[in-house]
C-alpha cells in the first residue's frame, strides 16, 4: 500500500506554523497543479488539481474530509477521488522542537519519473489540514511554544478498480521524493517570514 511519512523542523514557532496553515486560502495558490478549491463546510472541501505522473498529466478532483482537528497539534483527513478511483488518508502533526530545531538526515535521491502527480497530491494533502474552522491567530499564538517546530506528515493513497496494482506500483516509488519538495517549500515560506522579521536563517529540513 503506497504510503509515505516524513518529518522536518523549522525555527518557526508552532503558533506561526499553525497560524499560516490553518487557513487553506493562504497556501492553496502555491500548490503545484492547483486549479481551484471550494469549501463545503467546516470539514469538507473539494479540490481540483492538475496531477502529473511524469508520463501523463490529468485534471483530478478530490473530496477531502477532515476527521480530526486538534488545535496546534494534529489534523487528520481522508481523501476520495471524484473522477478517479482513488482513496486515501493522512495526517499532519505539529510540536515544539526547541529553539534551534533538530537536524534530520538529508533525504536520499530517488528515481521518480512518475512522481509529479503524487507530489502534487501529497502537497495537497499536507495542506488540507487547513480545512477546518478559522481560528483567531492571536489565540493560537498565545499557546505556542517559544522555540521551533517539528512537523510530521503521513499520507497513504490507494488506487481502486482493476488497475489498482499497476497504479499503486506507480505511486509507491513516487511518494518518497515528495518529502523533500514539501519540506523545502513550506519552510521557504515560513522561514522567509522569519527572516523578514529578523528571526534568523532556516534551521534545515529533512525527510525520512
Amino acid at each position: 500500500m503506497p504510503e509515505t511519512e516524513f518529518s522536518t523542523t523549522t525555527r518557526a514557532p508552532v503558533a506561526a506554523v499553525w497560524s499560516f496553515v490553518q487557513d487553506m486560502d493562504n497556501w492553496a495558490p502555491f500548490l503545484t497543479g492547483y486549479q481551484s478549491h471550494e469549501r463545503r463546510g467546516e470539514r469538507e472541501s473539494l479540490w481540483t488539481i492538475r496531477g502529473d505522473t511524469g508520463v501523463l498529466a490529468r485534471v483530478v478532483r478530490f473530496e477531502v474530509q477532515v476527521t480530526e482537528w486538534s488545535e496546534l497539534r494534529r489534523v487528520a483527513f481522508t481523501l476520495r477521488g471524484i473522477n478517479e478511483p482513488m482513496q486515501g488518508e493522512g495526517s499532519f502533526s505539529l510540536e515544539a522542537a526547541g529553539a534551534g530545531g533538530e537536524e534530520d538526515p538529508a533525504p536520499a535521491p530517488r528515481p521518480g519519473a512518475l512522481s509529479r502527480f503524487f507530489e502534487a497530491l501529497a502537497r495537497l494533502a499536507l495542506r488540507l489540514f487547513g480545512g477546518g474552522t478559522r481560528r483567531d491567530p492571536k489565540a493560537a499564538a498565545a499557546g505556542a511554544a517559544a522555540g521551533g517546530s517539528r512537523m510530521g506528515f503521513r499520507l497513504r493513497v490507494e488506487a481502486g478498480g482493476p488497475m489498482a496494482p499497476m497504479v499503486n506500483a506507480m505511486i509507491k516509488p513516487a511518494l518518497g521524493p515528495v518529502a523533500e519538495d514539501l519540506a523545502s517549500k513550506i519552510l521557504a515560506h515560513l522561514e522567509g517570514g522569519l527572516r523578514e522579521g529578523g528571526a534568523g536563517a532556516p534551521s534545515g529540513s529533512g525527510a525520512r
Binding site: R50, V55, L56, R58, G112, G161, M163
Partner: protein, 554 residues
C-alpha cells in the same frame, strides 16, 4: 541565395560526428559511427532522450529477418520486396528501396550482435495487409526487443522518455496473452505492477532502452539533453562543419569534423508545416511536442531540397484529447482504438458509415475524399458511436467500464436520434445506419465495408470472444458519441531529400557535404505512398547505420 551561418569562432566541443536527435535514427548513427572509430556527440532538444521511437510500439518491420529463421518461419527477401512495392503504390525511388532492403538485415543484426539489442520476433502479429497483399506474411516480420531493465541506463534512467500510449512493462506476447487492447479489464495488473517496480520496459521505451544503453553506457558517447540545435554551421564551400545549439540558456557550438546527422523526426507540432504539407483542415499529434520541423528549417537554411510522397495513406489516425490530459507539457492526443472493437462504429455528418473502422489504412483515405462539386470533405470529421454493450466491456482511452466519462468529450443519449441531434449528425441517417449495421453485425458480417477481413485489425483491437472479433451490434442504450480529430504519429509526407548514402541533397542537385538526414527527417523516398507499423523504426535504424558509417569514413 541561402544564408551561410558563420563557421568561424571557437567551439565548446569538437567531435567527428554530431547526431542531432536521440531516437533510433540518431542513436543508430551514433553507434555505427563510434564503432568505426569516430568521436561522436548526441544533441537532443527535449529534456529526456529517446524521441518518438520511445513513444511508440517499438516494432521494427523486417521481412525475412534472422529471428524468423531461428523460429522456422518461412519468408523470403523476394516476398518482402513484393510487399514493400505494394505498400509504395509506385511512389518510391527504386534506388532508395534497393539500398534499404540491401542494408536492413545487416543494420538490425549489427545492433543485435555488436550493440547488445536483444531482438525478439513477435508472434501472432500479421502484416497490415495479410493475406490480401502480394508478399504479405502471417507473422514474424515484426521484431521487438526483450524487456529492458531501466537501471542499466545508470544516470540516464530517469532522463529517458516513457510513453503514455502503451501499457508499461509489457511485451507483445504478454498483451496478446492477456487478451489484447480490447480486454483491458482482464489484464494481469499484478504482473504489470511487478515490472513497474523493477523498471522493466517494453515496447518503445524498451527498444530505446537497449539502443541508449549501447550508446551512452557501453560506448560512453556524450549526450546533451535539453540542447536544441538552432543552426547548422557551414564553411565557405557550403559544407556543414558543426552546429550551434542552445544549452542552459547559452550558445553551445559543436564542431563536427566529419559531419552532422539530422534525426529529429518530422513536423507534427509545427502547425504551419502540417497545414501546408498534409493538406487537412486539422492536425494533432500523439508524439512528443518537440517535433517541430527542425530538420526542414535547419536543412533548407543551408540549401537542402525537400521531397514528398503522397500523404493519402501514411499514418494518420483519428482520436481525441481527454480534456485536461497532457504529456510532456502538451495536450495528449490518443488514437481511437475503440473503432476496431465490437459494438462501435464511425459515421459522418450524414449519419452514414463510410469505411472499415477497424482498419486505419481503409479509413484514412476515405476521410480525405473530396467532393469536387461541393468543395467539401463529406466524411470529415468522423464521429465514434458506441452503446452500453461497449461501455460494459471496453475502455474509452484510459477510462475503464464503470468510470465516469468526461462530459466535455462524450455525449450520451438513450436514443440514437437524440445522440445524433447532440452531435450535429443527421438523426434519420444514424437510425438507418444502425438498423442496417446491426442486422448484419449480429451475424458477424459487414457487407458494406468488410470489417473483420484483415487479421491485423483483429489482433490489434478485436475481442476474440466474438465470431468476428471486430464486429457486434449497437443495440443496448444508452448510446455514446465522440467527435474525433486527426492524430498523427509522426509519419509525415515531406522531408529532406537524401541520396542512397543518407546525404542531404542540395536544391541544385548535389549532396551537401557533411550533412545526412535519417528517420522521419528524411523524405520517405524508400517507402513511397504507403506505411506499415515498424517500417519507420526499421528505416531509422537502417539509414542511421548507413549515415553513421558513411560519416565515419566508410
Amino acid at each position: 541565395m541561402a544564408r551561410k551561418p558563420a563557421a568561424g569562432g571557437s567551439f565548446d566541443l569538437e567531435v567527428d560526428v554530431v547526431a542531432v536527435g536521440s531516437g533510433l535514427g540518431g542513436i543508430s548513427a551514433a553507434i555505427a559511427a563510434r564503432d568505426r572509430g569516430a568521436e561522436v556527440a548526441i544533441l537532443e532538444k527535449a529534456g529526456k532522450l529517446g524521441g518518438v521511437s520511445a513513444y511508440g510500439g517499438g516494432e521494427v518491420f523486417v521481412p525475412n529477418n534472422h529471428k524468423m529463421r531461428e523460429a522456422g518461419i518461412a519468408d523470403s527477401d523476394a516476398a518482402g520486396r513484393r510487399y514493400f512495392e505494394f505498400l509504395s503504390a509506385g511512389f518510391h525511388s527504386p534506388a532508395h528501396l534497393d539500398r534499404l532492403l540491401a542494408t536492413m538485415h545487416e543494420a538490425v543484426e549489427y545492433m543485435g550482435k555488436e550493440a547488445g539489442v536483444r531482438w525478439l520476433s513477435v508472434r501472432q502479429l500479421p502484416d497490415y495487409y495479410y493475406p490480401h497483399a502480394p508478399g504479405s506474411a502471417a507473422e514474424g516480420r515484426y521484431l521487438s526487443a526483450e524487456l529492458f531493465p531501466g537501471a542499466e541506463l545508470g544516470a540516464w534512467q530517469g532522463k529517458t522518455l516513457l510513453t503514455p500510449h502503451v501499457p508499461p512493462g509489457v511485451l507483445h506476447e504478454d498483451l496478446y496473452r492477456m487478451g489484447g487492447l480490447a480486454k483491458v479489464t482482464e489484464w494481469d495488473y499484478e504482473l504489470i505492477a511487478r515490472r513497474i517496480e523493477q523498471d522493466l520496459r517494453g515496447f518503445g521505451p524498451g527498444l530505446m532502452g537497449w539502443f541508449l544503453k549501447a550508446a551512452l553506457v557501453d560506448r560512453k558517447i556524450p549526450a546533451f539533453a535539453g540542447s536544441p540545435v538552432r543552426e547548422l554551421l557551414v564553411d565557405d564551400e557550403g559544407a556543414v562543419v558543426g552546429v550551434c545549439a542552445s544549452r542552459e540558456g547559452t550558445d553551445f557550438r559543436v564542431r563536427a569534423r566529419r559531419g552532422v546527422v539530422l534525426a529529429v523526426g518530422g513536423y507534427d507540432w509545427n502547425p504551419e508545416m502540417a497545414r501546408y504539407f498534409e493538406s487537412v483542415p486539422d492536425w494533432n499529434s500523439a508524439c512528443p511536442p518537440t517535433l517541430q520541423g527542425d530538420a526542414i528549417v535547419l536543412g533548407t537554411e543551408v540549401g537542402a531540397a525537400l521531397a514528398a510522397v503522397p500523404s493519402t495513406n501514411l499514418a494518420m489516425f483519428f482520436g481525441y484529447n481527454i480534456p485536461g490530459e497532457e504529456s510532456e507539457g502538451a495536450p495528449l492526443f490518443r488514437s481511437s482504438w475503440e473503432c476496431g472493437c465490437p459494438h462501435a462504429i464511425w459515421v459522418n455528418r450524414a449519419g452514414r458509415r463510410f469505411c472499415d473502422e477497424s482498419f486505419y489504412k481503409d479509413y484514412q483515405p476515405r476521410l480525405r475524399e473530396w467532393d469536387g462539386r461541393r468543395q467539401t470533405r463529406d466524411n470529415w470529421p468522423p464521429f465514434l458511436i458506441f452503446d452500453q454493450n461497449y461501455r460494459e466491456r471496453y475502455p474509452l482511452g484510459s477510462f475503464l467500464p464503470g468510470q465516469e466519462l468526461p462530459p466535455e468529450l462524450v455525449v450520451v443519449a438513450d436514443r440514437p436520434r437524440d445522440l445524433a441531434a447532440q452531435l450535429g449528425i443527421d438523426p434519420e441517417g444514424l437510425e438507418a445506419t444502425l438498423e442496417r449495421f446491426n442486422q448484419h453485425a449480429a451475424r458477424g458480417e459487414d457487407p458494406d465495408f468488410g470489417r473483420g477481413a484483415y487479421p491485423w485489425c483483429a489482433r490489434l483491437t478485436g475481442d476474440f470472444s466474438y465470431p468476428n472479433p471486430n464486429l457486434a451490434p449497437l443495440d443496448k442504450p444508452p448510446y455514446y458519441g465522440v467527435r474525433l480529430v486527426p492524430v498523427s504519429v509522426g509519419i509525415n509526407s515531406h522531408g529532406l531529400k537524401t541520396d542512397t548514402r543518407a546525404r542531404v541533397v542540395h536544391v541544385r542537385g548535389h549532396p551537401i557535404r557533411g550533412l545526412c538526414a535519417v528517420g522521419n527527417s528524411a523524405a520517405l523516398l524508400d517507402l513511397g505512398g504507403g506505411y506499415q507499423s515498424g517500417t519507420s523504426n526499421m528505416r531509422a535504424i537502417t539509414w542511421g547505420y548507413i549515415a553513421g558509417r558513411h560519416l565515419a569514413g566508410d
